[in-house]
Subunit: 336 residues, 2 copies
Amino acid sequence: MFSMRDMFRSAREGTLAAVAILLFVTAAQAQSDPLPSWNDTAPKASIIAFVEKVTKEGSPEFVSEPQRIAVFDNDGTLWVEHPMYTQLAFALDRVKALAPQHPEWRTKQPFKAAIEGDMETLASSGDKGLLELLMATHAGMTVDDFQKVVTDWLSTARDPRFNRPYTELAYQPMVELLAYLRANGFKTFIVSGGGIEFMRPWTEKVYGVPPEQVVGSSIKTEFRMQDDMPTLFRLPDVNFIDDKAGKPVGINQQIGRRPIAAFGNSDGDLEMLQWTTMAGAPARLGMLVHHTDAEREYAYDRNTEFGRLDKALDAAAIAGWTVIDMKADWKTIFKD
Amino acid sequence: MFSMRDMFRSAREGTLAAVAILLFVTAAQAQSDPLPSWNDTAPKASIIAFVEKVTKEGSPEFVSEPQRIAVFDNDGTLWVEHPMYTQLAFALDRVKALAPQHPEWRTKQPFKAAIEGDMETLASSGDKGLLELLMATHAGMTVDDFQKVVTDWLSTARDPRFNRPYTELAYQPMVELLAYLRANGFKTFIVSGGGIEFMRPWTEKVYGVPPEQVVGSSIKTEFRMQDDMPTLFRLPDVNFIDDKAGKPVGINQQIGRRPIAAFGNSDGDLEMLQWTTMAGAPARLGMLVHHTDAEREYAYDRNTEFGRLDKALDAAAIAGWTVIDMKADWKTIFKD
């Protein structure tokens, strides 16, 4: 005959068993699901289908491992680019930090606007003003010193809305995608309009992408012997703009192979996706992150200063690129 | 009692046993010697000592795997550069092949000299003339088309002295060194003054170095949509000269890390060796191939048009770089 205590014990054991089964199932699912932050919607399915067909030996769409090159835009594709590019936030903070050494900036635009946080005047200074700010904050030091400045800034700066370090605003679904591709023999590259030396100090830690796999915009550098020590000095002179039609050029210059998968989010990525997917070969993947989630991140496309997605959105429909609807397709945006 | 036949059989068995032992010992030696084409002289010992100390965990000179970057010059360091750079032989052959489409070349220098094989007049046209030849033969087509031209040429062209395809004139000791470094967790890069797109079609096959690990000189390219297909078009305009002080710049632009080992053979490699070895860190290796073997290859240093080794030879003594005496230190030069 069962006592109340026996029944209780039995129930408890049942619960424990159920919990054990649940844990086991969850662990098994986690193991079998390489993209747990993605909802089970079309984009996730098309990623997995693509990877399976190019990695299946003997299949007509098989791609040998050295040819499995995947390229990713950075701003807006791998991490947040609103309310402004993180590199611009860095430049503005640098102007403020350097202002005491530049008393002339107090009356000189666009520096005055940057110091006062007068974003309207700053915007009205246009590309020319922006370039002046970039050169004043990014040049005039060695490559090693600039790396240290970037690393120091990132260790203390916080995104104003999310109140987190910028490097914690990497999109978790994309971080999983990078790892999933690498686990399947892909070499993953960043191909960004952002500064190559602004990215390299942290891309390995945040995305698993080493410095030699970062392609980006750059200023000129010069080799100098200083006190019998070799240095590379950063000059206030644009070397290369890795954006729009520059992206295929940068890919060819630095990688020397045509990628088989490309991921972007804006018109700046249009030519990179064309170069990658319109190669006459069967197995190519082009994807665009569409920012549709004002609640968890931001919602923008055709009308925005940072990351305009207009021509590339129209092209996606024609070229068969997958558009990721951030709100619908991503279970989580950031790592907790 | 032993018959003659028994004795003979016994002797034969003894011989077979001796042969078997010999084969075993040779195989074991081959296995334990990663650099069989190197004589047991100082350079081989210093390479092995360097690799052992940077790969030994816990040692004060241990270098983590991602930081194990080794850079190699190409012409004169990995393959033959006399009587002229192979890329120049290619350009001269291309002028001849393209001449029927350019009747004006028959009377125009330096093309006339190139067509007629008049090397003296060609040399007198200087860098300006050389650049004209390079642009006429290297630009004006897509990247894909140029790759095909290079591959086709290399499949038929023969070095006049050795009567072998140029790609068979890679130095076997250096090919072994590349493989030895990779087996020890190094990433090997080519950093050459030669054209990046001239090297990429064959470096993987010949040296095991993939296109994305080739740094070199380049002309500008332009992204174009042609008949709805994306192409990269090669323009007759210098983009980057990866030589002398340009080598550290190219290394930083494309690799983004400072190498820990550098191998060169001429003054064009001086700054690369400085940048690599003069970093204030203990474990750095700088080596120069000194062409001392007129019989098996060539002998030249301070007085030559191709691969002058003068300042870098003086610097080696001060900086502690190892100078490889080709004649004394290499058991074989080319693969049989």
